[in-house]
Symmetry: C2
Subunit: 278 residues, 2 copies
């Protein structure tokens, strides 16, 4: 459920919003290795603005058809702009990737790059300064995220656990650790991100940059674990999808998440994940 003023700004481009409303749901399918099939869309709309709605639906439909997803139902009513998508997909019996399968010694991976959507939010709010080209690239990540559906499907039987990074790496990986009753060590230096965000880590903006990297939401990359023996298979999948997949740490039997800085020292405090009620 996406609420205006909370998940997207008032003036959000309707085409991009239509894309994103579906994309975040496709990302949930990707996280469990499911193939999305059907979507339902409900919207509370402040007015019956047909131009806005047509543009929104173009964005929604373009992404839906790219993934063979059929819109099979929904609802519209008047109200504060709120969008609710339900996604239905399938996965062969027993092949769904869960959060609870991570085992000590498993490698922790992320797809793509992390922290760029959060960097766009920080730059848009004027809290950090980045060059125009970086901002444009990061805003694309924020506004038209690419759900990693094919990666999720390819990881069936390969990943021991997975989820999508929607609320921040620390918080989302924390869900895997909790469900799997394990801990993890992650290296800041290993987390793939935009060079501009990497550079910010060496400036007085380091705390903000770390927060983008570790607690920024909205990237919609997958974070997953797999046994060390599966390393070659993971590399093959990444190559076949032309999507970088990077090892960022290891699962440990000791509970808790340890994030190590570039010098190998554990960070004493971790930035908080996005909380839906603050």
């Amino acid at each position: 459920m996406l609420v205006e003023g909370r998940h997207f700004p008032r003036a959000a481009d309707p085409y991009r919003l239509g894309h994103k409303a579906l994309a975040v749901n496709l990302s949930d399918m990707a996280a469990v290795g499911a193939r999305p099939r059907y979507a339902l869309l409900a919207g509370a709309l402040p007015t019956g603005d047909s131009e806005w709605l047509a543009s929104f639906m173009h964005g929604f439909d373009a992404l839906a058809s790219r993934h063979g997803v059929e819109l099979i139902g929904g609802d519209t009513t008047k109200g504060p702009l709120t969008l609710c998508v339900t996604i239905i997909g399938d996965v062969p019996k027993g092949c769904a990737i869960t959060r609870s399968g991570a085992k000590p010694d498993d490698v922790v991976y992320v797809s793509g790059t992390i922290g760029e959507a959060a960097l766009a939010l920080e730059a848009n709010a004027g809290r950090v300064t980045v060059d125009e080209r970086t901002l444009r690239a990061c805003a694309e990540r924020l506004e038209v995220p690419t759900p990693r559906v094919e990666l999720g499907v390819a990881l069936r039987g390969v990943a021991s656990s997975a989820l999508d990074v929607s609320d921040g790496l620390v918080g989302d990986l924390g869900h895997i650790l909790d469900a799997s009753h394990v801990g993890a060590t992650v290296d800041v230096a290993a987390i793939p991100t935009h060079p501009a965000l990497r550079a910010l880590l060496s400036t007085p903006d380091r705390p903000r940059a770390l927060a983008c990297l570790l607690a920024g939401g909205d990237d919609y990359e997958l974070c997953f674990t797999a046994t060390p023996a599966a390393q070659a298979r993971v590399a093959e999948i990444a190559q076949s999808l032309a999507l970088p997949v990077t090892a960022i740490g290891r699962i440990t039997s000791a509970p808790g998440l340890v994030v190590r800085d570039e010098a190998g020292n554990a960070l004493s405090a971790l930035p908080h994940a996005f909380d839906h009620f603050t």
Copy 2:
């Protein structure tokens, strides 16, 4: 999608709201003869008020378990109070009841009584006066509607078309007529309703009473059609469910809906159905 201030008042009892949020969706299942199986619930909530939420979920769960419906997913976020339920059910292949199967000479039926929820709304707004006991009975219809799931299932292969009366009889029956490319004649005198609403038809409040009867929403009864030959079967079903089912008119080959008053004269103007954008 139910929006505070539009589909329910600000101070709505959370237990009843939980019931209604699911009930209106079960009613959609009933309208196509489907057996509801799974529900997803998304809510934008102004605060994380756990007492409110617990009461809401009690109302939701009580109705869900009565119908064997399993809550399998959803979402919560902060925002103007908005509830979105997605319902998933099944019906044997080819047995779904549609809106497009009504044929000339078919009998038009409604279940239960019509117009009571609207009468409660009118009375609550002080536009009509009814006695305390009537108001309580009608408020029950409005706030804790009973979805006609068993009737819908029983009507598979019997009804030629069906839908649930959620936006008013005239408008909802109109959807059947449009989809079936037929017309209908309906008799005001035949529409089953509360005696208090029937009595209001003979007072200066007749226009308001007619509007409740013909254009009042929220009753969540089924309106359906069946061949004259199926009349005994329909009566059997009604008896087995202990749910009154009443013939209120006939399908005609001439398009358009004619509503006849108690003297058999066509009403010159029909009250409008609920419009979701006005």
